[in-house]
């Protein structure tokens, strides 16, 4: 409960990556109204980006990661993306005694436990709200807000790009390719949208949520489902007749008695009036079902530099607020059965 969320002690922050998210974070850190001091910006093309960036001259730009690792920043914000070298650099930053805030779903889906253990050993923090759900604070909702419940299921729209593509098809009747091009024009889709449409992005995020909710170490690649790449306008027309639409849903439920996790990412028929049916454009949404609390829903901007920057800066603020905090590392088990329904036979409805 603070009048200014950044009213804590001044904190020195370095940002890795000056892309959509990194530049949004850097600009907010460099603004006059935060007590944070932006000390370094690392980018492979630092020299080139520096000129157009409009960031205070006092900030050191570098293309040498060691400049950041050896500097006196308290917190390193990682917005590079991809597993390598991001995981290596996160590890190096923690080893160098810095706390780390990352937006990197691939690293957190694969290396969360050892990195969080390293952070605790170092007396530092590794926070990753931005890795799942953009500005929608679902990592805190599951990891903290529902820690007093036993979560039994998660259903979510976790990929803003696919959702933007699907809602364009839904409203215009265009082809998937045309909808992808529209999303690219609006900055919602990468040049190659395969990781979004095939579900790799959502699978990584779902694996992170399974760790938080169920304590399971899930290999994202082992999560089944179906790609959204072959969904057509005709599919949308077909389901619309019964008041439904189609969304890329990520689902996980865990039966603790049999240690069986059912998890998948697939295009799914959802009621048009449901939370998921009403989630349009690059929005994300999730329904978390707890044994005691029932269904808790959350939704918000799932993509975009500004929204993701909010999640990152909230993590930076949390670290600054209590720099002595030791977050106990997770105890994840791989001792469970992972199953996926047979999508050729089972109709998934939500």
């Amino acid at each position: 409960m603070t009048s200014d969320p950044f009213s804590s002690r001044c904190c020195r922050v370095a940002v890795l990556g000056f892309g959509t998210v990194g530049s949004a974070v850097a600009r907010r850190l460099a603004a006059d109204d935060t007590p944070f001091q932006l000390t370094h910006i690392f980018d492979r093309r630092a020299a080139e980006k520096r000129c157009a960036a409009g960031i205070d001259d006092a900030v050191a730009w570098t293309s040498d990661i060691d400049d950041v690792l050896h500097a006196d920043a308290d917190i390193v914000v990682e917005t590079i993306g991809g597993v390598d070298p991001a995981a290596t650099w996160i590890r190096a930053a923690l080893t160098a005694g810095k706390s780390v805030v990352t937006a990197n779903k691939q690293v957190m889906a694969r290396h969360a436990a050892p990195l969080l253990t390293l952070a605790a050993q170092q007396g530092r923090q590794l926070r990753f709200e931005a890795a799942v759900g953009g500005a929608m604070p679902i990592v805190r909702a599951i990891g903290d807000g529902l820690a007093g419940d036993r979560i039994v299921a998660i259903d979510a729209i976790l990929n803003g790009t696919t959702n933007a593509v699907f809602t364009t098809i839904e409203t215009t009747g265009c082809s998937l390719d045309a909808a992808v091009r529209a999303a690219q024009a609006l900055g919602y889709a990468e040049t190659d949208p395969a990781a979004d449409l095939d579900g790799d992005d959502a699978r990584a995020k779902l694996a992170i949520l399974c760790a938080l909710a169920f304590g399971l170490r899930v290999d994202p690649a082992a999560i089944g489902g179906r790609s959204c790449a072959s969904t057509t306008a005709a599919d949308f027309l077909r389901v619309r007749r019964r008041g439904a639409t189609i969304r890329q849903l990520a689902h996980a439920d865990y039966d603790r008695a049999t240690a069986t996790l059912t998890a998948w990412v697939a295009p799914t028929d959802v009621a048009g009036a449901s939370l998921f049916g009403r989630t349009v454009g690059p929005q994300n949404a999730a329904i978390v079902t707890g044994e005691h609390s029932g269904e808790i829903g959350i939704f918000g901007a799932g993509a975009g530099g500004e929204a993701t920057a909010v999640a990152i800066l909230s993590d930076v603020a949390a670290i600054a607020r209590d720099r002595a905090a030791i977050v106990p590392p997770p105890v994840l088990t791989a001792n469970f059965i992972l199953q996926t329904p047979d999508f050729d036979r089972v109709e998934v409805a939500c």
Copy 2:
């Protein structure tokens, strides 16, 4: 990220109040699968309630608050409700070196700043997720998850009782009195539902959210609006013709440039298909608008012992996870203008 949210060190917990919420908390703490030890239950009618409670004999029941204050519990859970003596006992528990988890919206709406300051001075924590929104983790969403944004507005259904009453009128066309009796029969309404229908309950919760979101010390009694007590089935029929329904909404927006807070709690026309129109029974819902993240929504069970117990146990888990954490107390200002629209003239639509 833990397999078991309660996997932290064992923590000794005392519960004040053995009503709907307190008994749900006590039963979960007494269950075999938590590492917490329920040490004391304080209730004015302890002797009488003990027999029917079915709680482990090792737990000490008492009607003397000093038994709890002088005991070696690490955390005191306060579910008494009301301002007095709850505020006095929270203060006494913090002074005695205990952390406190409270569900008490009236205390937190009126005394948050001094109590949180006392907690920080004592090196202890005071947490209050359960004071607003039942199982819906909105205190964390605003205080932590959106700390990296600048919140500009909050719209929310914060009183589950009124929402249950309104949705009964909406679906059955019955009178408000009949709907209140139905809610009482289901355990959603107190014998005297005035604090719910008049908006006192929602005003206290809105004051807490204004402190979290805007850093303002708002007197709940100064928040304007209109009572829901005179809303009739005919009102619902009238708005239904245009696809709308009626909900008790709590609204706050803050213009930092002019230091002007606009806040009210009132029966409000909302689109039937909107988040609020779709929030039925004793559910709560909120839309928080941030300058950078846009609209973030959250909804879930707003009332009931089990749901509120989830919020309390999540706070207990957070304290247990890092007992050395010092949460900086808030800096709240009373230096602002509070205004309420003229409800006789302005039609509020959402």
